[in-house]
Each structure stands twice: as C-alpha cells, then as structure tokens.
C-alpha cells in the first residue's frame, strides 16, 4: 500500500455519508439449466451478508430434509413450491442486496429454453447482464441466445461467469478457451464491454471473495465489476427530449394545469421551447418535482411540466425537443414472442407505445430470425413463443415512433391481445440484429 499523500482527506466517511452517495445498479442473471445460477445468486447474497439468520435457518432445514450434504444456497432464491420441489426456477424473481458502494436490484431469470421470454423481461430493465456457463461445457447454444438477447436490448456490459471451475481442476487452459470463444461472439454482436471470470459458486471463488485457487487469474471478482462498472445513464440523457404525458394534473382553486410524466430521454429546463404534434410549439414555464419547483430535469425524473400556452393535451401525447420523430401509421419492428399462442400476420392487436394505447394489426411477419445466424425463415405466416421476428406494424392512429435506443429509453412497445389483454410480444422499433 502506498503512503498517504499530504492532501489526502482526513475525514472518515460515516455510514450515513456512504448511504447518501449510494447509486442503484440493475442487473440480470441468466444461464442454462444446471449451470448453478441459483447457487450463484445464493452465494452473492450470502457473501454480501444479505441473508439473515432466519432465512438461512429455513434453507438449512430444507437442505437437511432433502438429504443434501451441506447447505443448498439455491434454496434461498427458489420462491415457489413447485420450484423447490422440482429444483427448477419458473419465473423471474427480484433480489436486493447492497454494499457500501451500491445497492443492487437483481432480476434472476430461469434458464429453460421455453422460458427465454423471462430472460428478455429480466434484461429489459438491466444495465449489466451476468451469464453463467458450466466450465465443463463452455459456451453453449443457450449462452449465445442470451448474449443475442442482451445485444438486441442494447445492454453493453455483459459478464460471463465460468462456473464450476473447481470441477475442471481450476484449469487455466479450459478457461482461456471459453474466454476466447465468448469474447469473439460478444464482439460479433456488438457487446463492447464483455468480462470473463472463472468462478465456483459452490465454493465461493471469485463471486464476492477473491479465489486463492487460481493464481493465474489476477482479475476482479464478479462483485468488484458490479461495484465499479460505469452506470450508463448518459446515453438516455444525450438524446432529444421525450416526455410522454401520463396524467394531466388540474387543481381548480389555484387554476393549476400541469402535465405529469417521466422524462424518458433527454432533459428539459424552464424556458425551453418544446414541440407538440402537428408542429406546434410552446415554452416550458415551470417544472414541478417531488421536491417542489426545479429549474431542470433529466432522463429518469418523474416531474410535472407547466406550459405557456393553453393547449389541449391528454394522456398519450408526447412533449418533445426540436427533433421530434415523424408520426406514422406503419413501422418496422423487431419483436420477441411472449405467449404460447402464435401471432399471425393480419392479427388485430393493441399497441402500447409510451403512454399511448392504440388499435393496430401485425401487417406482415417479414422474417423469423435464426438465433444461430445460420438460416432465417423468410416471410413466415406467424411468429411464436421465444421467436425473435422482424415484423411490420400498422396502427389506427398516428404514432411518433423512432428507432429503439438507450436500452429502451425510446422506441420500445408492447403488442397486446385485443380481447384477453395479455402481453403478446415485446417490440423494438426498427429491424435489429440483421
């Protein structure tokens, strides 16, 4: 350790100071069946001291009841009875843990092929994705599928945790081969911040605690990366203002009329000129936040905008900056199928884009992508569960759509079943991946 410099701060941060600066990181874990993902998440929670005595006691008891040797940490995260009984994960589960530097919201997604829709769900809110592979099997079809979904959604930071490295005798050769394979695939898909780490979730190597079994690996643990990776909030900030109106707040006594919503992209200041539909413009005269009036607000902020002109705006309308997307009745999109029922070309649907909900139809299914990139299916009649497809969407009312960007700050939508109300597909404007 180097000697302290003369101007080093002497102030020791108190617990409250640390908490005051703490940021959130949202991440997602994914892997195939038997990659030990639940054990990995259990290890992460356990070693960051996020598991309390009564939870651990319950897991120890269940482990003993089932005749396991030692504590099965995966039981910490399998929430539903069917999952515990069958030893599988059915649904996305959300976990929370914190270190002095950051608090983490972790979406834990199941690994079965038929549950890929849950991976899309978990990744859609994530800044970082952790993929698991079994060191004995290396990068498999499912890994590439998950990496492809990460690339589709625009997640730039992906950590590959090469698990069960103890079962290949902590072999550097095995690790380096997997690393090379994965890094090449990540680069191909445009995932530019890829990390590969050898771990044993069961034994605790390199998850939170550095391993002493792999002197050939001097790199960071999984937690070290999660604590230090740059939180990419900047991309959404750099875009033009997008403010879909959620609700109009009216208060008669004070003649108050404000447009409530969240800034999905860009930023806005009092005095800015903003653009509405039909080329209309007006000026922002005030911004009310949860803390009262502010001069400026940025992407992610839930605020209420006050405008200079008395214009008839309602929920579903978009307030934007000067480069407002053109309103259209038809657009291209990439979708991920989320329901058992196949969606046919011509099918009537509802489209949720921002805060608007409009009737529409799947005008055409242009292509179902082959995840391995070998042979796409051209002009199929339908797309189904887990399919990633290029489609054309037609809507009954004009929508100001634009290409998907900044991990869904703009250009994301849902296709909804017109009668049952179920979510049929997750949509990204534009033909992506090809």
């Amino acid at each position: 350790m180097s000697a302290p410099t003369l101007n080093a701060p002497t102030h020791n941060p108190t617990a409250t100071d640390v908490i005051a600066d703490r940021e959130t990181l949202r991440l997602c874990t994914a892997g195939s069946v038997d990659d030990g993902k639940s054990t990995f998440v259990g290890r992460l929670l356990h070693d960051t001291k996020s598991v309390l005595a009564d939870q651990l006691a319950s897991v120890e008891q269940t482990s003993a009841d089932r005749g396991f040797d030692g504590v099965d940490l995966s039981l910490l995260v399998d929430g539903l009875r069917a999952e515990r009984e069958q030893g599988i994960t059915i649904d996305v589960a959300y976990r929370y843990f914190a270190t002095d530097k950051r608090t983490f919201i972790l979406a834990d997604t199941p690994g079965h092929v038929q549950y890929t829709r849950n991976t899309v769900t978990g990744m859609s809110t994530s800044q970082v994705v952790v993929l698991l592979v079994d060191a004995r099997h290396g990068v498999v079809e499912q890994t590439v599928r998950h990496l492809t979904v990460a690339a589709l959604l625009g997640v730039k930071t992906v950590i590959l945790a090469v698990n069960k490295i103890d079962l290949v005798d902590y072999s550097e050769d095995v690790f380096r081969a997997i690393e090379a394979d994965f890094t090449a695939k990540a680069a191909e898909l445009g995932v530019d911040d890829a990390h590969v780490i050898p771990i044993s979730a069961l034994r605790g190597d390199n998850v939170v605690e550095p391993s002493t079994n792999m002197p050939w690996y001097p790199g960071p643990t999984v937690l070290e990366i999660l604590e230090n990776v740059t939180v990419h909030r900047g991309r959404a900030h750099d875009l033009d203002l997008r403010f879909p109106i959620q609700w109009v707040i009216r208060e008669h006594a004070s003649d108050y009329r404000g447009y409530a919503g969240r800034i999905e992209a860009g930023q806005v200041s009092v005095g800015d000129e903003v653009t509405l539909d039909y080329g209309r413009t007006t000026t922002v005269t005030g911004i009310d936040s949860a803390d009262g009036p502010v001069r400026q607000a940025v992407a992610g902020d839930s605020v209420t905008l006050l405008l200079a002109d008395d214009i008839d705006l309602v929920r579903g309308d978009l307030i934007s900056g000067p480069s407002r997307p053109e309103s259209v009745r038809r657009f291209h999109a990439t979708v991920v199928g989320l329901t058992e029922r196949a969606v046919k070309a011509g099918a009537p649907v509802k489209v949720r884009y921002g805060t608007s909900l409009v009737r529409g139809r799947v005008a055409a299914v242009d292509r179902v992508l082959d995840i391995d990139g070998v042979s796409d299916t051209e002009a199929p009649e339908t797309f189904g569960l887990n399919d990633i497809a290029h489609i054309s969407v037609e809507v009954a009312a004009e929508l100001p759509v634009e290409d998907y960007a900044a991990r869904g700050a703009v250009g994301n939508f849902l296709l909804i079943d017109q009668s049952a109300g179920t979510t049929l597909a997750a949509g990204l404007v534009g033909h992506r991946l090809r």
């Binding site: 959130t24 309390l52 269940t62 976990r95 994301n412 079943d417 179920t422």
Partner: protein, 304 residues
C-alpha cells in the same frame, strides 16, 4: 419523534421515488376506480406519501381502503383517522367483524384474523367496482412476493396464478383486463425495508408511534412478544410483563410480534435494522410461520 436523516435523497432513493411515482401515475391514467390499501403500516404510509407527491397540488385520485380485522392496534387506528382528517382523503373501511356477524366467516381456533382478510377484501373490490387496487407489498419481504409483478392480474376471485403472470418489460405496464378481472399494483415493489426507513427519514413521514421504542405490557408466545387483547391473549400460563419494545411491522394484533428495542428515532431504527439478524417477517409475523409456502398459498386465494 421523527428526525430527518437528510433533506436530500440519495441517488438510490431518488431512483426508487421516480419509479414509484411513474407507477402511481400509470395507475391514474389506466384505471377508472382505484383503491389504495391503507393499514397505517409504514409501507402503506410511504405509498400514500408518494401518491401525494405524484399528484400535487391536486388531491390523490384514489380512495383509501382499510380491511379492519377488528384486532388492530388502537394507536394505529387513531393515526389512520387523524391522517385522513388532515389530508382530506376518502377512506372506506371493510370490517372483518361484519362478515363474522353475518356468519360468512368463522373465527379461527388460534384467534388470528389475518387470513380472514381475504374474503372482505375480494368482496369489497367486487362490490365497489375497483378496477385497480394499490398495495404496499415489497418483493424483499418474502420468497413468493419476490416473483410478483408490479401490475398483477387477478381473476374475479382475486386469485394469483404465478404461471399466468404477464412478462413486465422496461417500464411499460400493461393494465388491460377482462370484465371481472382486476389489477393489483405494487408501486414500492423494488424497495427494501431499509429503503422504506431511509425514505421515511428523508421525507419526514409521520408513522404510528408503535414503530418506535416504548414500554408495553406483553406476553410471550412462540418466541414473539404479543400485546394482550380481546382477540385471545394471554392464555393460561402466559405471563404478562412490561418490556421496552417497538413494532417492525403493523398487522393483526394476534399475529404481529413486538421486538425488544431502544430505537426511538429513525436513525436508531435504521441502525437496529442494519445489525438485525432476522427479516422483518421472520421476526414479527406468526402468519408466515404456518408453513414453508404460507404466503404463496394465501396469495393464490386472493391475499395481497
């Protein structure tokens, strides 16, 4: 009673507040008749505070709904009524006792009325025609809740089917439903117990006084300190004694235990939680100890 930790929210709390306000405004935008489940507990107090900030300067466009087990702490009911009077909120109370009096619900042998809340809740939702009901449940509370959506579709029986849940992507919430269905919405899904307390401190939110350390006559049952009352305690052989305690959760008196504590300010409560070795439900909720899947089973029947 409440000392603010700081007036500035940490980036983490700001992030959670932004998310919750966005969810509350989606509810206002997507539904017609909305109820906000309000028990006077800290989580429902936080949801109510967020709602007030989300719609200011207008009043909150929801009705408060309290399912009163009849075994509530008097301090909490007083707090509830005072808050309603001060804020001009509308409150509807569904009393479990009314269902028992009509012979539609039977008292349980153990005297616990928490599981009896489900029927009055589901029937009140149907009778009042609520198409959305907001609750303060958090995913960090319990394993089955960790799998709950922010917008959770319930059938006309209020039942939760974990295999029928809608995938929830980005921050696009799908509130579409069939006639008879309703949506339960959990705006503070992503908050932890510590987040709730930090926020209460930072925003200076008032809570029922039983959350803070006080001297109370209690007796011990199944390792928990319970308050005596008409609900059926203490039994023979259970000795009353005075202890310095506070409550970590607020529910039916028959199944909500106090913890021994000297924490009388929010800072002290936070320090206590940080060193606690038990989860809040493990420490204080007898109803979750009924079985390994107690919460999952109750949710399937229509519980929150």
């Amino acid at each position: 009673m409440t000392t603010a930790l700081s007036t500035q929210l940490s980036p983490h709390l700001k992030d959670l507040e932004n998310e919750s306000i966005h969810i509350l405004r989606e509810v206002a935008g997507q539904f017609d008749k909305i109820g906000l489940l309000f028990s006077g507990g800290k989580d429902s107090c936080v949801v109510f505070e967020l709602a007030r900030r989300a719609f200011a300067p207008a009043t909150v466009p929801f009705e408060l709904l309290h399912v009163d087990t009849g075994h509530n702490f008097p301090e909490v009911l007083e707090f509830r009524d005072r808050l309603v009077a001060e804020t001009g909120a509308r409150l509807r109370v569904a009393k479990v006792q009314d269902w028992i009096d009509r012979g539609e619900l039977a008292e349980r042998p153990d005297g616990t009325r928490n599981p009896l809340q489900t029927v009055p809740l589901v029937e009140t939702i149907a009778e009042q025609g609520y198409d959305a009901v907001l609750g303060g449940a958090r995913r960090d509370e319990e394993r089955a809740r960790a799998k709950e959506r922010v917008f959770s579709v319930r059938d006309s029986f209020g039942g939760w089917d974990p295999r029928r849940q809608r995938p929830e992507l980005w921050s696009l919430y799908n509130g579409e439903k069939l006639p008879g269905e309703n949506i339960r919405v959990f705006p503070i899904s992503n908050w932890t117990e510590a987040d709730v307390w930090e926020y209460i401190g930072a925003r200076g939110i008032e809570l029922p006084e039983i959350y803070f350390s006080h001297d109370r006559e209690v007796f011990q049952r199944d390792g928990m300190w319970l308050t005596p009352g008409e609900w059926g305690g203490p039994r023979k052989g259970e000795a009353l004694e005075t202890r310095r305690v506070r409550y970590r959760t607020v529910g039916d008196m028959s199944c909500t235990g106090a913890v021994e504590s000297d924490a009388s300010t929010i800072d002290q409560v936070l320090a206590e939680i940080a060193t606690s070795t038990l989860t809040e439900r493990g420490a204080t909720r007898a109803d979750d100890r009924l079985s390994e899947s107690a919460m999952e089973d109750r949710k399937k029947e229509g519980y929150f």
